[in-house]
Symmetry: C2
Subunit: 428 residues, 2 copies
């Protein structure tokens, strides 16, 4: 098939007429499908049902150090959970705090603490005229929502296949002491599924920020969330690299088991330097007596060790890999060679990122919605919901059953074609 | 036995000599006992072990409205948990948010949100020159730690048997618009075990604060934590009362199941007006996708309803009532009539409050510690750890096994007598 931008006006008009007829057929089907959020599907959740049997009324709920997990105590988590999540994070258990059920909550609290109390003795951010964060784009909408909520100015930085544009990142953080942080999803990034190259990680660890309280917010959300056994991305470990570079305190690393066991009923963690941990615990002890140790124990008893978790993740991959492949296949089959969009083919994570022709994303999402398919809101992947190109759309293939997903993706491609043809005709 | 302050110098010296000999005996016993924190004991925790069987891999983990509790969703909690904790709080489920594992965390976050974003459109507290809280004393050290951490000035207000000194509370909040809140443990207060009278609650609901964003922080920590079947304190419900008084938005009410099921692995909640809820959810949606719904479901399946919870609390009472009675008996037997201290005899809650002769509390706690019994730090019950009378000591009878508790209490009374005799001799 011809590229749309090489078609004559008449050819495009004929094409659009055919597309609109098909679209009407979809509208008549009363679809109600959801590709909007990175939610595991039922089959994935079923994989962790054994965790519900990991504890029962007959077992001892004491952890390794003898603490009764049913009672108050252990502000920073039970030792065996630190080992398990330390192995998951590739960090020393000593550098870890186990939190509650949500790493997003940990990130929010980390920003909130910096706002009201500052980082390691530095001026609280709320006392400063201006605080800025670098935001690799496209990125994760909930990261941007946190910084927006706290009135932090967000500066978009382009993401490439090997990570954020480091020349720009290096320049900006060195020049502007109002820049206090950068949001990173370094592995199988949200939404592109890109993983930072070794060079990117090393340069990140060697940043020379003007602000002494600059921190890298390293959201290791998809650290072990591979889609393939034979194609896995590997990253240089950022805490170790920062330490080597003489910047031991420059990174907060976040993760959780939300997409390993149950979203909202997993356990979250933070890994960082001992200096940062000390700083954090001064606050944490005022906020809580401790997190849910019984749930920490439940996770450890279920997985036993990192090998158990790794094997578990292969089962997740077996469930969702066919969904990613189905989406990619339909995108290629329906849109390949038309010049109407580009998309990523990640080796892990939860998303495929689609870049439509400039100015088409909102229209595509709107068309899909009108035909009963909910996509992530266009521009959600940009700070302030402002995608200057109106181009990026996040596709979340995991949640719908595969037949629904195929149907939704076909409709999506139809909407892409309609919006693209309309745009070219309007410009013709 | 004679009151100490009616003894001659010689009598007191003889008494002290005898006390010191007994103290040396205790020191030789190498005790290591802990009466410092309000922790449930093992037998209490065992009461909730059935909750570990409430869910297993064979049961459906969907809640009433069909939501799969294993996945993201329901920011403010599952419907049946709102009903259960609504019944526990005596509030409409519509007025409730179910949170994570700690009501302290909810209180902290409530203050933190007011600091950075203000309450219902009012100026964020961090932008004000001065923010003050009223603190009924003696009170809960972790409340005071939160306000101290945020630099909020704490003003002590005397607690009486029927609640805080309301003449003073009414006067202060009406005069000073920097006063933004008051910490209350209205039922079986920490540490005295006092419950607010109906009149106190009604006056609290009718406060006329100078600050429009003044809020009552109503920590309903011991709402159903009775020690007796036949002697139970009842309170007028504060949300309803505020509504009647035309102050519907003036109160945040907190509670959790920490001392019902497992401390740190329970569920927490907040009850407040719909206006406040709307204000809170604007923030909450940035902080988390939702709390642990599986644990909410586990609690509901275990208790079924408020009747189940009430019956459960009777079992708690059966375990800890003898401990309270043992402490009270030993205090009476050892200190009755000596004029060296007064103590409370609560109908519920977790503490007995002891008021020593002025200037003796620190010495008593120090003496107990040197003989191997850990008490709550003296002055912990006052803001800034500053008890101007050096008099109040919190006794936490629940955690130690009863024989240990008796031993520790006897040693405590010995320390009270020594410190009191020393004081009187020094003044003689």
């Amino acid at each position: 098939m011809k590229r749309y931008d090489e078609m004559t006006k008449e050819e495009l008009q004929a094409e659009l007429k055919g597309l609109e007829e098909k679209y009407k057929e979809y509208q008549g089907m009363n679809l109600s499908l959801d590709m909007s959020r990175g939610k595991p599907c039922r089959e994935q959740l079923d994989l962790s049902m054994g965790m519900m049997d990991a504890l029962n009324s007959k077992v001892d709920l004491s952890c390794e150090d003898g603490t009764d997990c049913r009672n108050y105590g252990l502000l920073d988590g039970i030792p065996e959970a630190k080992v398990l999540l330390g192995d998951m994070m590739e960090n020393n258990p000593q550098n870890i705090i186990i939190y509650g059920n949500s790493s997003l909550n940990v990130m929010y609290d980390t920003v909130a603490r910096a706002m009201t109390h500052g980082i390691m003795g530095h001026t609280p951010w709320c006392k400063l005229d201006k605080v800025k964060f670098l935001c690799p784009v496209p990125g994760y909408d909930r990261h941007f929502a946190i910084t927006e909520y706290f009135g932090i100015e967000m500066i978009p930085v382009p993401m490439h296949e090997d990570g954020p544009e480091m020349d720009l990142v290096e320049k900006l953080v060195a020049e502007d002491k109002a820049i206090k942080g950068i949001w990173c999803v370094p592995k199988y990034s949200n939404p592109q599924g890109y993983s930072y190259s070794d060079d990117t990680v090393r340069r990140m660890a060697r940043l020379k920020p003007a602000a002494n309280d600059f921190r890298i917010f390293w959201d290791n959300a998809y650290g072990i969330h591979h889609l393939y056994d034979d194609k896995q991305d590997y990253l240089v470990e950022i805490l170790a690299e920062c330490k080597k570079a003489g910047n031991p305190d420059m990174v907060y690393k976040f993760a959780s088991t939300s997409k390993i066991t149950f979203p909202g009923s997993g356990i979250a963690c933070l890994a960082t330097s001992l200096n940062n941990l000390e700083d954090i615990k001064k606050q944490l002890k005022n906020q809580t007596i401790g997190h849910d140790k019984v749930n920490q124990l439940r996770h450890v008893r279920f997985f036993k060790d990192i090998h158990g978790m790794t094997e578990h993740m292969k089962k997740h991959a077996d469930v969702i890999r066919p969904k990613f492949e189905a989406v990619e296949e339909i995108l290629e089959e329906q849109l390949g060679g038309l010049g109407v969009g580009e998309w990523t083919k990640p080796n892990g994570g939860y998303f495929i990122s689609f870049d439509a022709m400039e100015g088409c994303a909102k229209e595509i999402v709107s068309l899909a919605k009108k035909a009963g398919v909910k996509m992530t809101e266009a521009a959600a992947t940009w700070p302030y919901h402002n995608d200057p190109h109106d181009s990026n759309i996040r596709i979340a293939p995991t949640f719908p059953p595969i037949d629904d997903l195929k149907m939704a993706t076909r409709l999506f491609t139809l909407c892409v074609k309609i919006a693209s043809a309309q745009k070219l005709l309007a410009e013709a």
